[in-house]
Symmetry: C2
Subunit: 288 residues, 2 copies
């Protein structure tokens, strides 16, 4: 049986190049100290011949930095979070960081559990993308000396930085836009409760639309739920003519439901959504 070939180490390269491990390290990392051109060449040659690949684990143990960032997501299968994840990963890649990804599945327990595992893995930082609720896990991370950022939503008493949309401004803009198209009453479709950013959007709609607000609608955050709600409203002839949805998934479901029931869009229904999923603006015109 063929023996498993041990991975080539810095020591192997040093021996082959007739130099010390320290020098090899300096060459590989371009520092922190200069190396004579001749030596450098020998080292590079030896490394290439042996097909040397630095062991990031050993480096991490020594330098106390892994070059890995943890990304905890609510659910990568939701296109909104999926797109977000892709962009976060790309941004980290550009900074030469690796991304450790975990799905919390909208569960605060699982979220905390993930953060715990990521901390054990010695991540250099944490990006937390959750939908709502949950404990201030960023604070726990900071306690362990690991910087953390929230994206999309920050739990209530939370000090960590937040990267998110300006919900108030977005809602105001959406309502204003529909008004310039002649709609006096603007309805709002949101989720089952008012946790997280969606709750802020709801409040903003209430404040903006004021007395002229259309009905407040609620359904789960899925295309299927919004689809069913829409069919029902159309059947009962209760579909509002102008609607702002709290999420893209719901907007797509509304459009599908309108389409299936033959309710003309944008003829008798104008919809604006607030998330900004890449695919969202394109196919069926969300507004005009």
């Amino acid at each position: 049986m063929k023996r498993t070939t041990r991975a080539v180490t810095l020591t192997d390269v040093a021996r082959r190049a007739g130099a010390s491990t320290a020098v090899v390290s300096y060459v590989i990392n371009n520092g922190p100290r200069p190396v004579a051109a001749a030596t450098r060449e020998r080292v590079l040659a030896a490394a290439a011949e042996l097909n040397y690949r630095p062991n990031r684990v050993a480096r991490a143990l020594r330098s106390r930095t892994t070059g890995v960032v943890g990304l905890v997501l609510a659910d990568a299968a939701n296109p909104y979070f999926g797109a977000l994840a892709r962009h976060v990963e790309q941004a980290l890649e550009e900074r030469d960081k690796l991304t450790l990804t975990g799905n919390a599945g909208y569960s605060a327990d699982r979220q905390r559990h993930l953060v715990e595992r990521f901390l054990a893995a010695q991540v250099d930082g944490l990006v937390i993308v959750s939908a709502d609720g949950g404990a201030d896990v960023a604070a726990e991370a900071e306690t362990a000396g690991v910087p953390a950022v929230y994206v999309h939503h920050r739990p209530e008493p939370g000090r960590a930085p937040l990267v998110g949309a300006d919900d108030d401004a977005a809602v105001r803009a959406a309502v204003a836009h529909l008004r310039t198209h002649g709609h006096r009453h603007v309805a709002f479709l949101t989720g089952p409760d008012d946790a997280g950013p969606v709750g802020r959007r709801h409040a903003a709609w209430q404040a903006t639309a004021g007395a002229a607000a259309g009905p407040l609608l609620r359904c789960a955050y899925s295309q299927a739920a919004a689809d069913e709600l829409t069919r029902d409203l159309v059947a009962r002839d209760a579909m509002p003519p102008a609607l702002v949805t709290a999420t893209d998934e719901q907007a797509v479901g509304v459009l599908a439901g309108a389409c299936a029931t033959g309710h003309p869009v944008p003829g008798r229904l104008a919809v604006i959504s607030l998330d900004g999923t890449p695919t969202a603006p394109t196919p069926p015109p969300l507004s005009r």
Copy 2:
């Protein structure tokens, strides 16, 4: 200024419990050797009080296994791959593995680059989800002693295991289904070229539909492209009545286009798609 608190180590726990580091290790890992119940209690208590978290990096260096698996994706922003990623991650989580995720963005170069970085990070295994083409990166991984699996697609001369759909069977089933609904001619919408699984689906359609095949349509793998194509076909009164699409994204685009132009679904258009994205089957009926 507050001093950065050094992380608590196994040595700290040992000192606090009045035991040796070896014993603490045995307790934490439930082995490989037994520990007296009393000692075990003391160790556990000390660990809890100090909030000890084993350093996975040090463990990895010593045990030569990181507990991390690399997942290279074509594009997490595509809902099909996003859902796939979520399930892979969950399966790994159940096996107590962490998931390192990277997006190759449909580029063979970036894919290889990612694999390289993952190998340097000493991943225990690799899951490769690519759309088409590319080199046999799994083979490179195996060379480094890291097992690898392909999902969705395996490049041409590739020996690594593949987890994928039975394209032939799926296409045959789709065509048969439409035929039982009275459609003699079944059209097929695929991508710009025939690389990857989509090419196999195309071939299977050709073989199954045979002489009675409807027209072959092509457009990019996006909702927007399929939307535009559909509008165009409807406008020219050239929309086929029965259609199989190679991907879900395209199916959604077709439905959107049909909806926008008032082309009745399922009245004058029956569509079946082949991917199986979670959201796909629900909102507009893809077939009936």
